[in-house]
Symmetry: D2
Subunit: 205 residues, 4 copies
């Protein structure tokens, strides 16, 4: 299997979607409004992870294109929980992206404490050998959710999915602290948004 | 007129098209083939230039969106004259870009000595206030054509379109030297392409 | 006063220091160690802010170069409170940077709740008119500290330094939630670092 | 040999020098003067090329740091032959770079037709394990010289240094065409520089 060739359209999809979603941020700033998007990052899944996941989920390598939804991944980080909804609407309204699945792990958080909103989308790219459809997973989260998720991800690798009870409890407390910070932030949000508008108009740092 | 707001979709169009066209280059390199694209640059027309051109061409400011074709500009630079054709085909074959006009100043160079291939295209962008169509001018040239054009452009500004005869003659000789270099390059091209393929496969710099 | 000319060396200082500090992050990742640096951002102080501050602090415009310490600003964001110390040591050990002042608002947080470590440094840049010394302020913070500081900054502008009691109380609660999250993170830190090492070695995402 | 670790300071040197030299270009534009620097690119020598060169030149791998001068390479491209001198002066005047060798293949071009000015410099970088001196080769060329050199480089790989007579003759003619273009450009240069100044002041594209 020529991985370089196979992954080329996914790399292109990630590059294009980063530019497209980052564009919103700049546009909000230009009209002095709070941007629901703080950061946009993206990656193509590393080959060992693809092989690992294909084995676990019993996906034949010749069906990766239709069966593995996160070969291309985009992550959008927001300041406030309320921003997540706005980002989802921006994505749903685009004619160049087709949403094929949504998973709301915020309303319905995972047992581990994981919170995030996932969209799986179809996105067409043009390569030197023509147009090709790609599946891309877009994760939308607050900074606190993101922080926690990064840590849980690392611990899961360390313990190969079997995190000891003591560590699990600590992780749970960190999840609660992150959740609490998001709550405090939401309360102060109205104030901040108005302040932000004021601030951008003055164009003073 | 709120220029910042008006030019936002053009800035976005330029950013997206740069990523899309640069993607080709990387793809050619990955399959060890000569890339017809050497550089891709882009710019939104500066406001004083817009005002100046609107005055000269009698375009009312509320008709800029449909009447001024180069508010957003993309420039693709190629190594060989032969590459220009390939680039044009790549653009014509995209479903996200609609070519509305083509001007071939290579087969039919301007009196001044100017050579380049121009495409005017329709390109849709999604902003925070919805989808919008933009006109973008894409110029395709060799490096030698580009070098010459940059200089002629500067001299035209200096002399406000009335370049003295002596300078004009020198400019003409430089145009011929650039044209001659392109010719020598074309002749050596077959060799180079094969060599390039060889070179990339070895992955030795 | 030619601001463009005056601010040129500060822009150059910011660009160079971003590259230099971001380099560390990549190096830690390459040896599979936890990086004490998560993000590095930078900015040159906008002209209206310079004028505003000069007025408030009674700094004559011809003494800006020696009297205003944050014309060039660098911000380093860390995952853990413990990382801040490591970053400070990396900076102190460089022969191309001279630390001229340090302010520890973490051990000794401001009344408002503000926490951060500030270093003021001398940094030489080479411009087209020769070498010039610049003063640069480097702020080192955790992500939670940074989040809180951004909000307080905006609110201060809105209320011109006179934030109403109710808002102040909310801001205080958010500062406590951020502080609490930093604490939970520190506790889980040893685990995470080891996990991170494990994770990078496997090179699985 | 841990190549990743060994090449880390060279990668950092390339990144820093690119920012430092590109800074000049921006500064010239800001004061509306012709920039002697058109492009700055850089690369760390790929591992197969290092091994190949070490074999050819009999350099033991543990002496690469002091014996191989182009592990880190920077290329500065200029519009005019006259600009090369200015770039060399800018580099010689920096206190953070020490020139250890200069080779003038412009006054004294290689038999093949190759023209370029080479500087070998010492440049200190700070890594997570402390300060380290690196050798960097800086090549300064016009665009026409660069174009020709790229092609000759590829052909050399194809024919493993033994380019057939016919191709060699063609290459020679292309070198002459490039040289001729540089000559025409020099003649028109005074005009262009003044025009450029005029053009930047008007801030019209």
């Amino acid at each position: 299997m020529d991985w370089d060739l196979f992954l080329t359209p996914y790399k292109q999809a990630v590059d294009e979607l980063k530019i497209k979603l980052r564009g919103y941020r700049e546009q909000y700033e230009r009209v002095s409004e709070h941007s629901p998007i703080e950061f946009v990052t993206g990656r193509v899944k590393p080959i060992p992870s693809i092989l690992d996941k294909a084995r676990r989920k019993n996906i034949p390598l010749n069906q990766l294109q239709t069966q593995m939804q996160d070969l291309a991944g985009i992550r959008v980080t927001c300041q406030f929980v309320e921003d997540i909804k706005t980002v989802i609407e921006l994505i749903r309204n685009r004619s160049d992206i087709t949403v094929v699945e949504e998973r709301d792990y915020i309303a319905d958080k995972k047992e581990s404490g994981y919170r995030s909103y996932h969209l799986v989308v179809n996105y067409p790219v043009h390569t030197i050998s023509g147009e090709q459809m790609t599946l891309v997973e877009i994760q939308v989260r607050t900074m606190a959710m993101n922080f926690w998720a990064t840590i849980e991800h690392s611990l899961n690798y360390k313990y190969e999915g079997r995190i000891p009870k003591e560590i699990k409890d600590r992780l749970q407390r960190a999840a609660e602290a992150a959740f609490h910070l998001d709550g405090e932030m939401s309360q102060i949000r109205g104030e901040i948004q108005e302040a932000h508008r004021h601030f951008m108009e003055k164009k003073i740092d």
